[in-house]
Symmetry: C2
Subunit: 416 residues, 2 copies
């Protein structure tokens, strides 16, 4: 059965420019990952007649409607009342909902505000959905062959109830299994077209291919349907990993930086950084990850030549003859920070992120990356396209990718 | 006249989790800034009958409908055809649209793909909206007292046409002036409640107050309507600036980091940084701004004690007796980086961003910030709440704010 699903989000703040409607996007992504596609989405303000009109219109034309927002304790939270009006039901104090709200406050040793009692005033025959993260109970109404799921607008409460209660119901409506499973592999260093070429004729029949972009990464989405979906995806992932080899830099919910951090923790390799054009971005990305102090010793953000000389030991002669944006300088920076920090690995970047500073020889986007370890040195020139922010991101991802590869090499054969 | 406005966005990718619908958010924000509120928004997929049904439903109930997406050259771009079907018009080759598309390619010395001709097939009586950024012409249809604006889905093309053509039309429908003007002041260091208290009874009558949050900043929105709006806002802004004093760290579209960068460029003051818990975040934020090399000399990301000793001259004794997370260490780090870099200003942060590493004395969120200049030293302990990412952001904004204040002091009285 091909379910038709609609999303209705409620809230003035979504229509007056105060806030982006992240809930529709999150629902589309979570459902999309399991193969459900939304037929439409709507947003209305905190106006009882507008909410009721939208509910009536959707009851006539969709199998499932997911409604978020307007379940709070204040006067402009009108969704339950609007649902009662739309479907000709009375609002009644729902004992189960009231018990859940009381339990929420009791678990926190807080007194319940009398206003929260309003959140238990729900349309007749509402079935309650558990919410242990907030005061608003979710609920379900069956109306004219349509299942209406009402969820709170707070994003983490909404997504928790969606995953815990709504997905399972959708699977039941679809005959016991989710219509589709998905795995995501994150590719760096190949364009979408190049990625697609490598995957031509390698995926087993039954595994569909889709793409997404999270600049500068390409997301490869493998999808399969039916009872055999997980087996198909296991085989598809194996084939894709073989075809894309180490252009795959992360998978699933993991980011490239998290992956690099985990690899460094596991190998015990320590790292120091010397950044010029990225201005601390690489260090920032790695130290976003909790526990990064176990491998990250230090970083230098050396914008000036003097800093490069003083902290990294880059010679004045080199800077004068080759310039700060050069292969020799990148290598000297990496050697210098490694010597100072006494780390296993040291990585340096120097380049021109723009918009100013480009020359005919070294246009904006010219970047040198260097990586050194015991008995190992690598340095390369890149010409990145894009604006300042894109050039900095491309540089940072290239740097992280180099660290990832050397850490994997270390895992595999003990070097460096 | 109070216009009722709806937005309809078209595209499968908005409903299957591939992409967030940023266009509705952008339209709501741009229109909201001028006082227009959306009555509702809808999203449908690339299905001709769904698009046509949505257009028919909206024609019956709204004054203005802004439609985005589905105007491209490929087979799944169906919006013009759906509009013709919905409103019983023929699709005709629009000469003005075709001329615009040809001019777009001519200006780029590119050959026009025959498929792009399809983009000039528009419903009868469509009035063309100029688009010099892409191939899809926007167009307007009047239908049953409703004005339909059809815009391309590419965000920068959409927002350009919205600002250049649609806003002016909305102002004309509303009687010649935008219904409301808005100014945004960005506050750091006061909560929303504290900000509101300071603004009580200081704004002139006719200036409305609203709030937004961009963690950790509070956005104060001053709004006024009618012919006198700009005068009212001038007076309102003056009063708000007096009441909030230097808790206002930026205004309008400017960020705190951009503001700090501009101040440093203007004063000619140079800066160096020593970061521990922020791991490069402060340097990253400042070097995001083009031209930051004119004032930013260097930054040290000193995660290890050894790095603090070696590059910043923090003594082993101090680290042993006071610990790396201490007032004394923050001050020594700032002094050390200033000595090495010979900058006018030097700022240091050290703290515990979590989730691990907290103690009873120094729980997660304990952060020390130090700023030194010639004849000037400031150091302070903070206890920030939140998760790792929030603690790092609070620390970075506090650091930027300290630099902003000292640069303003320098502008005002020549110190330090």
């Amino acid at each position: 059965m091909n379910l038709t699903i609609a999303v209705l989000t409620v809230g003035d703040e979504l229509l007056n420019g105060e806030m982006a409607d992240t809930n529709t996007t999150a629902i589309a992504r979570i459902l999309g990952g399991e193969g459900y596609r939304l037929s439409e989405s709507l947003t209305v303000g905190d106006v009882e007649t507008d909410i009721a009109a939208a509910l009536c219109a959707l009851a006539a034309r969709r199998d499932v409607v997911i409604v978020t927002g307007g379940l709070g304790p204040t006067g402009d939270d009108l969704t339950a009342r609007a649902a009662a009006r739309a479907f000709g039901r009375r609002l009644v104090l729902n004992d189960e909902a009231l018990g859940q709200i009381r339990a929420f406050f009791a678990a926190r040793n807080e007194a319940m505000d009398p206003r929260n009692e309003k959140q238990a005033l729900l349309p007749q025959k509402a079935a309650i959905l558990a919410n242990d993260r907030g005061t608003a109970p979710g609920f379900v109404l069956s109306q004219e062959k349509t299942e209406f799921f009402f969820l709170p607008g707070v994003p983490d409460e909404m997504t928790a109830i969606l995953r815990e209660s709504v997905l399972g119901a959708l699977h039941r409506f679809s005959g016991g299994v989710p219509p589709r499973r998905e795995r995501v592999l994150k590719v760096f260093g190949l364009s979408e077209v190049q990625t697609e070429e490598r995957l031509e004729q390698v995926l087993p029949p039954g595994v569909e291919l889709a793409f997404g972009v999270d600049f500068p990464l390409v997301h490869v989405k493998l999808r399969a349907c039916g009872e055999e979906a997980e087996n198909l995806l296991d085989r598809g992932e194996l084939a894709a990993r073989r075809a894309l080899d180490d252009f795959i830099v992360a998978a699933g919910e993991t980011t490239l930086a998290q992956n690099v951090a985990r690899l460094l923790e596991n190998t015990g390799l320590t790292l120091s950084l010397a950044e010029s054009c990225t201005g601390g971005l690489i260090a920032k990305l790695l130290t976003d990850v909790p526990g990064s102090s176990s491998f990250f010793e230090r970083g230098a953000v050396t914008y000036s030549n003097q800093a490069k000389q003083q902290w990294l030991g880059v010679s004045r002669k080199l800077l004068e003859e080759e310039g700060a944006v050069s292969e020799a300088c990148a290598l000297a920076m990496a050697r210098g920070v490694r010597r100072a920090a006494a780390t296993d690995l040291a990585l340096a970047v120097t380049g021109i992120a723009g918009p100013a500073g480009g020359t005919a020889d070294k246009p904006v986007g010219t970047v040198f990356v260097a990586l050194v370890a015991a008995g190992y040195e690598q340095v390369q020139r890149f010409g990145f396209a894009g604006d300042r922010s894109q050039i900095r991101l491309m540089t940072a991802c290239t740097a992280l990718e180099w660290i990832r590869r050397i850490a994997i090499k270390h895992l595999n054969d003990g070097a460096p």
